[in-house]
Point group: C2
Chain length 325, copies 2
């Protein structure tokens, strides 16, 4: 059994926990949190420890799944913990991946551990699909669409507006642009690719027009998109918008043959009732791969593109060749 620890027990941590409960070759040996361990209620009977115990190197874990946030948690935690443990994270600030990789690589090499960063589905599975598309159809075009689904970052941004009690933001792909990308068209703007739908619960006395204007004109988050704002009650928010569905697709289209006369379309799609549950499931599989890489004597930092996918499976290479290839 591969002994796995979960670091950070929010939505993604619970997703990782739930995935480990479905796995027959991995066992959850501990949950590590910055909050008061007494207040945590794991699904199984897993013990909850203070995060600090990890830095003392006290954990009985072959690999840790780091379920913190990319803004402030992971840039510190992943290199710090990689000095002592094999670790997997979901670092998703695309622009800072090279820097994060270097930091984690240095720590993991020093600690003779293995680390896989930026797992999950984007980055993660979608990175794998972009790679396949570009490698097989190098003269093609393609694009990634997200949704329909809840964007945590955009929801948070709306919640910070004065007068907003709660908010949920859905990102929705524009179907006619999706179809155009399938046909090999490219060069679409942010506005042409996705629309945004925002559901807002107002604080008492807040001015809906003012809030709507602030949302729609918010730089980077909303100003480049067509955004619709809906005001709803606290009850409706709880009843209709409690889950965190998400998904999206990666499309690659290209012509093969001497004149590019044979259109080829590759498409990968995810439809997820719960974004954090699926993210946790992807992390768990990469946790297995991380453990196995380390067992093979590999150390340092890896991305999903560096990992042979067979290592994600509990089956041996022989079993995979006879059952699955």
């Amino acid at each position: 059994m591969i002994r796995v620890g979960i670091v950070g027990y929010g939505n993604v941590g619970r997703g990782a926990e739930s995935a480990l409960l479905q796995s027959e070759d991995m066992i959850l040996t501990g949950i590590y949190t910055r909050r008061d361990p007494e207040t945590m209620q794991p699904m199984g009977k897993t013990k909850v420890y203070p995060l600090s115990s990890l830095l003392e190197g006290a954990a009985e874990a072959d690999v840790l799944l780091l379920c913190g946030g990319s803004a402030t948690d992971l840039p510190v935690q992943t290199p710090e913990l990689a000095q002592r443990y094999c670790v997997v994270d979901t670092f998703d600030t695309h622009a800072r991946i090279p820097e994060h990789f270097e930091n984690v690589d240095r720590a993991a090499k020093a600690g003779k551990t293995a680390a896989i960063i930026s797992t999950g589905w984007d980055p993660g599975l979608f990175s794998l699909m972009r790679l396949l598309g570009a490698a097989i159809l190098p003269k093609g075009t393609g694009d990634t669409f997200w949704g329909p689904g809840v964007s945590q970052g955009h929801s948070d941004a709306v919640r910070r507006i004065e007068g907003v009690a709660d908010a949920r933001q859905y990102t929705i792909p524009v179907q006619r642009t999706v179809n155009a990308v399938r046909r090999g068209e490219s060069g679409f703007t942010a506005r042409e690719k996705h629309t945004r739908e925002v559901y807002v619960v107002l604080k008492e006395g807040a001015d809906p027009q003012k809030v709507a204007r602030e949302i729609i004109t918010m730089p980077n988050y909303f100003d480049e998109y067509d955004t619709t704002v809906h005001f709803i009650s606290r009850e409706e928010m709880a009843a209709e918008h409690g889950n965190m569905p998400h998904g999206g697709f990666v499309i690659r289209s290209g012509g093969l043959g001497s004149e590019g006369q044979y259109p080829s379309l590759m498409e990968f799609k995810l439809e997820l009732a719960s974004n954090p549950m699926f993210t946790g499931a992807v992390m768990a599989a990469f946790g297995r791969a991380c453990y196995r890489l380390h067992q093979q004597g590999r150390t340092g930092c890896f991305t999903v593109l560096d990992v042979p996918l067979g290592l994600l499976s509990p089956l041996s290479s022989e079993e995979l060749r006879s059952k699955l290839v």
Copy 2:
């Protein structure tokens, strides 16, 4: 530049040639054929050599793409050539992959070369997708559908019937079963998953009823399916059925969360105007990976599940991390 040779110049060989012409880091240095080299007309100015010259070890190639058939060519050629060259094949007899792997592994280890077998799209890309689905949603269900597209094997089987001058067989997924698999249903029969449409040109004097009956009742190929037979003219065959479109999809569906209450759907789809052109393109990308594995000092036989996907790209790991992950 990676120097690549193509062995076998049929439809897939031409697909590989066309893919290499689109690639900026690989150069086609020779085409090797059992037929008379004088009669071959490559798209570029590539020289055509007799296959026997390879066995003398005379080829200036870093890697060979073996484009012969799985029935009789590859079981012999891949191990034989792996003793001297890095090789990639598309061996697709699923049941014999373990045996083929062992033969090629022995030859490649003896020759200190690297070999990747069973590339293409199924086995190949679809194997990767089945692996991802099973590893991430272990308690889920899933299935692979093929088509709409031309099955070479089934077309050949019909051509062998007395009275048949030419034939083309299309495999068509049954949409309502596809939708059921997306919803997580499983256990469908061959008949429920695909229908078969056969277009036949009869020889003069042949009895259409007799031919149709022979097709529909043919064991393994047709008896387990609902098959429709259409008789057409030689002209219609040439005009309407000259290409070899194909495609299909791999679906994995599973519930996450403590009670499996969060449905998750992963789906990979291919729509290909030309099956052999796309197969050749996949081979070319794995040719690059094979060369790189060998450069890293790796020898022996690999399947697509053993290859880090980053090796398929001409970009370096650093470039991939900053541009694509």
